[in-house]
Structure formats: C-alpha cells, structure tokens
C-alpha cells in the first residue's frame, strides 16, 4: 500500500497513464511539429483525429482489416491535411497568427458538423484487431492497449528517424531553422510546409484509429483531445518535439493517478493546474533544458 492505495491499483493506473500518454504524445507531436515549423496553431487537429477514426471505421467495415484501415486512414487524412493547408493556410502566410488560429477554428467547425451530418450523432465502434488479455495484477488487461502504446511509440520513433536522417528531414530541419536561407538553397519551402502539415495530420489520424476501439467514434471526439493536446504542447515547450512527448506522458500519468480519486472529467483540472504552474514558473516549457 502506498498512501492508502493498494500498489496494484497504482501500477494499473501507471500502465493506463502510459498508454493514454503515448496516444496523446502522438496527437500532440503532430501539433508541435506543425507549430514548430510553420508557426501555425492548428485548431482543427482534433477534427483530423476524429476524421481518422471515421475513415478507420469505413475502411474496416468495407474490408474487415484493421491494419488496412489504419494505413488508409493515415493516407487519406494526410492528403486532406495537405489540401487544407494549400487552400486555406498558404494564403495566410505572413499574416498575423490570429488569422491561422481563426481559419483552423473555422475548419474545425466545418469538419465537425460535416461528420455529424454524414455519420449521424450515434457513436460508431472500431473493433480491436485482436482481443485477448493478460493478467496484470488483479485485472485482465487487454493486450491491445499495450500494442497501441508500442505502435504510437513506433510511429513517433519513425518520425524522429525521418527527421534526423532522411533527405526531407534535412529539408524540414533547415526550414525550421532559417526559412529564408533554406529557400535560397533551393528547398521548396511552401511544399515543405504542406508536407509537414500532411505528416501532422496523418499522425493525428493514426491516433484516431488506434484510440478508436477504446472509446466510441463520434463527431465531437476531437474536442477534448485538442484541448489536452494544446496543454501538452505548451507545457512541453512550443515546437519542442521531445518536450511534448514527455509532457504528454507526464500529464497522462498525473490524470491517471488523479482518477483514482476523482471522476475522469474532473481530471482535466489536473492538467490545467499543471499548465498554470508551468506558465507561471517555466513559461518556455517544463521539459525544455534551458529557458530561452
């Protein structure tokens, strides 16, 4: 027992926290990537998550394969993200950042309502690719949850490798550091931006499909996630990929522990408090090594 709570509950909540932390990290890293490279606050990120989940539902129903659903959802939403960026965000380049917040907010409203109209208000379900549980202390813990966490980690890891070693990774990093000089070196910066947005969108979609089996898929599922993702991005240090991942895990763990005592909807207060404390004392981010 620890502080009156049996150890196994603590351990289970730790595992739960890590699992949701990895999903949140996947959502948040897309958001951080987009912000860090393009200075765009993407309010529609939660809707990309939601659309990913719906695409997953559709492909799954049509083909019966979860993995195909995952891949197609990522590709379709990435494409949608690219179109979104070219049509609505490119014209706003160079303008006050408020404009992109508003434009993406407008897009989020349109996407949410489109999903509502197209799919109806009743939640859909994505079936896990495999059921099966193992014994975690006194619980039967689903294998699937562990797989989600590993897959999310894998995708994030893949992103890291891409950024570090790939040719396009160099382009993205150069663009982040000095957009003007990158362009002067022949790097097609407008397309780098589109590509990054597409990658972020794809990551959000992946989270949507992976997380789908855990909750119902409905048109409003993006809202809560976008808020949490924003908290994570700010706490982790805006534009700091590693920081967001750590922050996502940190906050999810805190919320998991908090839900031992309070209801999950109140657990958001926990993350909000963390946000407030961060902003008061370490506004550049909790996990940023040296404040700028």
């Amino acid at each position: 027992m620890f502080a009156g709570i049996p150890w196994d509950i603590i351990m289970i909540q730790t595992v739960n926290g890590l699992v949701s932390g990895m999903i949140l990290a996947l959502v948040a890293s897309g958001l951080t990537l987009i912000f860090g490279i393009m200075d765009v606050v993407n309010f529609a990120h939660g809707e990309l998550f939601m659309l990913g989940a719906y695409m997953g539902v559709i492909v799954l129903t049509a083909t019966g394969s979860f993995w195909l659903a995952l891949v197609l959802a990522i590709l379709i939403v990435a494409l949608l993200g690219a179109v979104m960026q070219v049509v609505t965000l490119r014209p706003l380049l160079g303008r006050d950042p408020l404009n992109t917040i508003l434009a993406t907010f407008g897009i989020s409203l349109v996407l949410q309502n489109y999903a509502l109209w197209q799919f109806g208000p009743v939640a859909r379900k994505i079936q896990e690719p495999f059921t099966g549980q193992f014994t975690l202390f006194y619980l039967q813990y689903p294998w699937y949850r562990i797989v989600i966490a590993l897959l999310s980690a894998g995708i994030i890891g893949g992103l890291y490798l891409f950024m570090k070693y790939g040719r396009y990774g160099i382009w993205i990093r150069a663009t982040t550091q000095d957009r003007v000089m990158a362009q002067a070196m022949g790097i097609p910066v407008p397309w780098v931006h589109t590509g990054v947005f597409a990658i972020g969108a794809g990551m959000a979609a992946a989270s949507g499909v992976l997380f789908g089996p855990l909750v119902g898929v409905n048109h409003a599922m993006g809202l809560d996630w976008v808020l949490k993702a924003f908290i994570v991005v700010v706490v982790g240090g805006m534009g700091n990929l590693g920081g967001s991942i750590l922050a996502a895990i940190f906050i999810s763990l805190l919320e998991a522990y908090a839900s031992i005592w309070v209801s999950p909807s109140q657990a958001i207060i926990v993350s909000s408090v963390v946000l407030i404390l961060t902003l008061l004392f370490r506004p550049t981010g909790l996990f940023v090594p040296t404040p700028k």
Binding site: R167, I170, W171, R173, A174, Q177, D178, V180, M181, A182, Q183, A184, M185, G186, I187, P188, V189, P190
Partner: protein, 238 residues
C-alpha cells in the same frame, strides 16, 4: 552575347523606406563583377532583390535572357543562382555534411555527381572535411564562411551572389577567399561580389560598379583602377 544576369531599374522598399532607386547592372557569364560603395548604400539589398528574398516594386531582372523578377528564391536557386549572405547564415543545428546536403539533394543529380561535388568541396576546404559531422554552430567564423561558400557550390550555380565574404576574417582567410574566387572564375562561375575590401575586389574582378544612395552611379574595368584612385575615394571615402 547576352549577359547572364541583367538588372534594370530596380526599386526596392523595406516597408516605407525606399532603399533602391533604380539600380541597373549586368553580369556576363563567367565574369567576376564587383559592387562597391559605402555602408547602407543598398549593395546587400541589391543582392537580396536579385535572389528573390525581397520583391522589387519596380524594374526587371533577367537571367539567361528570361525574366525572373518576383520568382521565389527556391526556383532561382534551381535555375542556377547561388547566394552567400553577409552573415553566412549556415544552418547552425545541422552538421557540416547536412548543410552541404541542402544544396546537394536536388533532383537530377546522380550519386556519382554528388560524390564528385563533395570531394571537390572537401579538397578546397580540408577543414570542413575534418569537421563534417560537427554542428554548423560549433565552427569558427572563418569556417562558417567556407561552409557557406561550399554549400552554395553544391548547387552547381552559374552565378554566385557573394555578400561581403571577407568581413570579420583574418588576413590568411581573406587570401583563401581570394583563391576561391579565382578558382570559381576559372571554372566559369560568374560572381557578383559585394565587398568593403577594395584591393581584393580590384584584384578578383574584371569590372566594378559603384553604388551611391541606392543606385549604380559609375562603372569601370577593374584594370583601370588603383586603390588610390579618386573614383574610389569618391564612392567609398569618408
């Protein structure tokens, strides 16, 4: 034979400030042309305008006979215009190798060609070869300048816009820059050289332009000028 780059009547504004008041100049293929003038006269702005970093409000720029005014810089780089800015602006968080790759990773370049270009750059700049896995920000000022030039060479440019390459460098490095300009010239690369270092400019260039108050006022063949020429004093003297 038409010149490689023609700049005609360029007016450029920074916000409300009217910096360039009708700049006109030309650079022939393979020519080294100097651009001299006091600080603040608009030399860097001229280079930036040619490179598309700033859009002119009036005037035209032609490259190989075709208009390029207003094109975005990445297209210009692909056409064969290289830019080495005044503050070098190497990518500090990328390694030397990655900096070079920003110019190297282009479509239509074979792996063999890439290796060739790299070997050439490292032959020129052995210090860069030594430091190839180091982050750009850890290099000394002189090394960063070399990297900036090497990086642009990866583009196989037809013309390089060089903005004050010797600024802040030790005399030994200055002569190295001198050599590099010569080698590039021998390879047929045109150079538009903005410099405060008059002797270097007169030695390396075939022609020299003089700018004052945002426009080109005078032109001369470099061979006709000496360091103490009254013209020099007129446009660069205190």
């Amino acid at each position: 034979m038409q010149p490689l780059v023609t700049v005609e009547g360029i007016h450029t504004f920074y916000g409300k400030s009217h910096i360039l008041h009708g700049v006109s100049l030309q650079v022939g293929a393979g020519e080294v042309v100097g651009l001299l003038g006091r600080n603040g006269v608009g030399k860097s702005t001229t280079l930036k305008t040619i490179m598309g970093l700033v859009n002119p409000s009036q005037g035209t720029i032609m490259f190989e006979g075709k208009p390029i005014t207003g094109l975005p810089s990445h297209k210009l780089a692909r056409l064969g215009i290289g830019y080495v800015p005044e503050d070098r602006r190497i990518f500090k968080l990328l390694t030397v190798m990655e900096n070079l790759r920003t110019g190297l990773d282009r479509t239509g370049v074979t792996e063999e060609k890439k290796k060739q270009l790299l070997d050439k750059a490292f032959a020129f700049f052995p210090r860069l070869a030594e430091r190839r896995t180091q982050a750009g920000g850890t290099l000394s000022g002189g090394e960063q300048q070399m990297l900036a030039i090497a990086r642009v060479m990866m583009l196989e440019p037809k013309i390089i816009l060089l903005d004050e390459p010797t600024e802040g460098l030790m005399p030994r490095m200055v002569s190295q820059i001198r050599e590099i300009i010569d080698v590039l010239h021998k390879e047929g690369v045109a150079i538009l050289l903005v410099e405060q270092n008059v002797p270097l400019t007169l030695e390396s260039s075939q022609r020299v332009y003089f700018m004052e108050k945002g426009a080109v006022r005078h032109q001369a063949a470099a061979s006709t000028l000496t360091v103490n020429d009254p013209v020099i004093h007129q446009y660069l003297g205190v």
